[in-house]
Symmetry: C2
Subunit: 222 residues, 2 copies
Amino acid sequence: MPDAADPAPMNARRKFRREGEERRRQDLIEATLDSVAEYGLQGATLRTIALRAGVTAGLIRHYFPGKEELLQEAYTALVGRMTEQAKAALVMEDASPRQRLAAFVTANLNAPIIDARVFSLWATFIGRAGSDPTLARAHREGYLGFRNEVEAVVAEVLAAEQRKPDANELRHHAIAINAIIDGLWIEGCLAGEMFSPGELAAIGIKAVEAELGLVPEREEDQ
Amino acid sequence: MPDAADPAPMNARRKFRREGEERRRQDLIEATLDSVAEYGLQGATLRTIALRAGVTAGLIRHYFPGKEELLQEAYTALVGRMTEQAKAALVMEDASPRQRLAAFVTANLNAPIIDARVFSLWATFIGRAGSDPTLARAHREGYLGFRNEVEAVVAEVLAAEQRKPDANELRHHAIAINAIIDGLWIEGCLAGEMFSPGELAAIGIKAVEAELGLVPEREEDQ
DNA sequence: GGCCTTGTTATGCAAGTGTATAAATAGCCT
DNA sequence: AGGCTATTTATACACTTGCATAACAAGGCC
């Protein structure tokens, strides 16, 4: 599509800038995620991605062996970002284990983790995990990492309450809490406008504390 | 392109049987779901679907205006089947509300609802809900129907315990329980072999009863 | 400034896509 | 049994897709 009203030679070769390698790869990956989120895997063609990245399709092959690899790298980048953000909420200094757990739940049930675009991406990719071992492994690792984090905090919380759960108990708590967070995350991503701000987090904290058998805090302590 | 050296008529027209209309549509929808589950939306081409259904691609156009409509009908059929199965566990005569709730949780966390194929389908379609209003509405309706069922049972359970929750309390319980079931469902579908049989259901029941503040039953009562 | 490397564009191609249309035949009706 | 009709197959087509290759020019280097 040449620009119609242009005095300069119509079939002039497109101007371009040379970006650094890392920058270009990053841009291409981001454009890929955008395209997948918006149009799905089928709509994310090399041309669409290139258009979004502001380059022409051929360039992609300069940075990636093929489309498959681009998609895999994009997915890896996505899960990396997700788990990183999620875990970031756990590094609170001088906070009680219980507060850290609550903060963790809250962080996972608000923006930017509750986000329709990220959810769309997650669902699109995870739907292929059943038949794509690469995706399956990427997910498995992310999931187990997340659950281990949960299990660690749970152990701290219970220890602070003088309770000594055995390994299986701990595992079950982690699985359940993980499920609560995942389930609420999905609900929030898919139908965010059905919940008032902070409502999901409040529901999540109450559910998690009930699961652990923690006695509700008094109003003024919160 | 006639085959020159062949005595028998190589290019004989393929034999076929005429199936009833409803049967054919059903077969085509099933073949579509199979194809999507196995190859994803991009891999589910008309030819792939037709091959799986044992017909040729052209026939699809005889039953559906286009691929788009076929996919939508397939998704509608899927969510219909899912919610139907889920709710079926609730129609237990002469069982206490608490037993019915437990049965509901158990049913949702075992085969055939815990199923990698169904999950793959769900994820693939739901990933497009963000940009496809038709899919979004189909999901929304299924989700709300499910949550209303949950809310109804929860109300019965609490009533049986002489507790009178207000509307908001009830809603929050339903949202949390829905999340627990969804989250465990995902974990089971994605990594079923990580859990022993019945383990997810046990975790789910405990979590749900904790959420509702039900006191654990004594061993011999279970 | 003029070259040289290589990031980038442009063009081409074979395979596959959804859709349209024509040809055939299965199976019901009389 | 034989014709009719609508289901089904077969073929064609325009278009898109991922990938390959050639032409080009941006920007560092001397």
